[in-house]
């Protein structure tokens, strides 16, 4: 299934929620929508899910524009789609198992699979309890279970990390890995870019209804041009002063200086020059660490960019 959105425009009265957004969902890829509140992340997901009708644009699935083809075609597309909404909620008076059985019946999944999925999301012990007694994290796990129940080709997760503890996050990472390995697609939104950084294949940064930047985390880092932090530790502390002196160029700003260690903030393009400078000092390096800027810092920089 090839899924892409192009030129999506959504207007709510005088407010432009989305302004010509393009998005391609590749097989075996976890795509992440990032952006501040009101950037249009949930609206874009709603367009994909058929919950919001755009004013303009196309939603192509295997070459067919579902926005042209009508509701029946979109309904067929939803057969192979799993969704976890932000702040997921269920009928409070039903038990976790009853909720899961309903979705299993609706999605044509065998009833026997319900308990397996409940076990997978760590809710076996709570399956007979009413949802009203579930914590936020438990509801999120139940929602994730509902989303993956029919093993759909496309998983749409709106802020899936909210409320999840470490165990819940591990479960989420496992699901994402399975999807990537199986060549399926995941579209998720998240505020916590540090958390999802290692799992994202492609990040789309939205701001005021427009895509400000798209690419792999590494591509976005390059685009942001943020300095990397380098820590150099020398075997011989007496060589530290000489090294620090040679590094005091514009491109290599020492940010802290210890007895044996110097911390630098330098642009990625100056890394090679830095290595050569260190080498030229003929000092024995006991440790050298390069820390790339976090995706959250990249995101902040790209959002600020005009």
């Amino acid at each position: 299934m090839n899924v892409s959105l192009s030129g999506i425009v959504v207007q709510f009265g005088k407010v432009t929620a989305l302004s010509g957004v393009d998005l391609d969902l590749q097989a075996g890829e976890v795509a992440v929508l990032a952006g501040p509140n009101g950037a249009g992340k949930s609206t874009l997901m709603s367009v994909l899910l058929g919950l919001v009708e755009p004013d303009a644009g196309h939603l192509f699935v295997d070459g067919v524009d579902l926005l042209e083809a009508g509701t029946r075609a979109h309904r067929h597309f939803r057969e192979d789609l799993g969704y976890l909404p932000e702040a997921v909620a269920f009928a409070e008076n039903l038990t976790g198992r009853q909720v899961m059985r309903f979705f299993a019946m609706a999605r044509g999944v065998k009833r026997s699979k319900v308990d397996d999925v409940l076990e997978r999301v760590g809710l076996s012990d709570a399956r007979s309890r009413a949802v009203r007694g579930y914590s936020r994290g438990m509801r999120q796990r139940l929602g994730l279970g509902v989303a993956i129940l029919s093993e759909p080709d496309l998983l749409v997760l709106d802020e899936p990390t909210g409320g999840l503890d470490q165990q819940g996050l591990s479960l989420l990472w496992d699901v994402l890995k399975e999807y990537k390995d199986a060549g399926r697609r995941v579209l998720m939104s998240s505020h916590d870019l540090t958390l999802i950084e290692r799992r994202a294949d492609c990040v789309h940064i939205l701001s005021a209804g427009k895509v400000k930047a798209s690419g792999t985390p590494d591509m976005l880092r390059r685009l942001a041009g943020l300095a990397v932090r380098v820590r150099v530790e020398l075997q011989d502390p007496s060589r530290m002063e000489g090294l620090a002196g040679s590094l005091s160029e514009d491109l290599m700003v020492p940010v802290d200086l210890g007895e044996r260690e110097v911390g630098l903030s330098i642009p990625p393009s100056a890394l090679f020059q830095m290595f050569r400078t260190v080498e030229s000092q003929d000092a024995e390096v006991s440790q050298l660490r390069v820390e790339e800027p976090g995706l959250d810092a990249v995101y902040e920089r790209l959002l600020e960019a005009p």
Partner: protein
């Protein structure tokens, strides 16, 4: 229509209603009141058609529309406010079908409550009289279905749950209380100048009025109305069937149309 998803939705609705404390309390109250009427009719040693059935008709004419409106008014707007509508509509099912499935599930639950209430009263009257009360079942269920359908229409029109609730209560007051009073007032004010045909159609235009009038005429004859100077010739059974059908289908169809045409259904 995806029968699989629609079937699942009906079962889901029904399960939810069966576990809904409010539904259980209202059913209990209905059973209690209907049983009380049944016991009173039994003690009066009169025929069920003379005492028990008219009292039950009056009880149902007030209670069933209210319960049905309350049951229907949050079907869509309540799901939206609880943030459950998006997940529901992400299933491979049309919006109109979701509304229909919700209606069917809730109508079954409502009919169950009505059956329990009237059934408990029927159990308390003399054996030979039970048939009279059993015959109330279908019209009462139809009355419930009409107001449930109206409630669901309100649920698709309203943007907020509180608005839908206010509209439901207002509709109940208008159709169950004020409509008949207004009609009587108009008759008195005009000194009976309104023709019987017009009165008949005005009665038939209100489902609560038609329910009450048809059953009371069926049980006690037209003598009481004639004494009040009202000569009603109620529509025939085919027309009545068409009216009941229309009252159920039209609000649901409008609701489905509104829901389908809404651009942002979860907003």
């Amino acid at each position: 229509m995806s029968m699989r998803v629609a079937g699942a939705l009906v079962v889901h609705e029904l399960t939810e209603r069966v576990r809904d404390r409010w539904v259980l309390v209202v059913t209990g109250l209905f059973v209690l009141l209907a049983s009380g009427i049944g016991l009173y009719g039994r003690a009066a040693e009169d025929s069920a058609a003379a005492v028990t059935a008219p009292s039950l008709v009056t009880l149902c004419a007030f209670l069933v529309p209210l319960v049905a409106l309350v049951l229907g008014h949050d079907a869509v707007v309540g799901e939206r406010e609880r943030h459950t509508l998006g997940l529901l509509l992400s299933l491979p099912v049309g919006r109109g079908e979701v509304l229909l499935a919700k209606f069917v599930g809730r109508a079954i639950a409502l009919s169950g409550s009505i059956g329990l209430g009237l059934g408990s009263a029927a159990l308390l009257v003399q054996g030979g009289q039970r048939q009279v009360l059993v015959e109330l079942l279908l019209p009462t269920m139809l009355l419930g279905a009409v107001f449930l359908s109206l409630g669901m229409l309100l649920s698709t029109v309203a943007r907020r749950h509180a608005t839908a609730a206010s509209m439901a209560v207002a509709l109940w007051f208008i159709l169950v209380f004020f409509y008949d009073l207004g009609l009587l007032g108009a008759l008195v004010a005009t000194g009976g100048a309104i023709s019987n045909d017009v009165v008949t159609w005005l009665v038939a235009a209100n489902p609560a009025g038609l329910y009450r009038t048809t059953l009371l005429v069926q049980l006690s004859g037209t003598a009481a109305l004639e004494e009040a100077g009202i000569l009603l010739s109620l529509p025939g059974s085919l027309v009545q069937a068409a009216l009941w059908f229309g009252w159920i289908v039209v609000p649901l169809a409008i609701g489905a149309l509104l829901l389908t045409r809404r651009r942002a259904v979860t907003a």
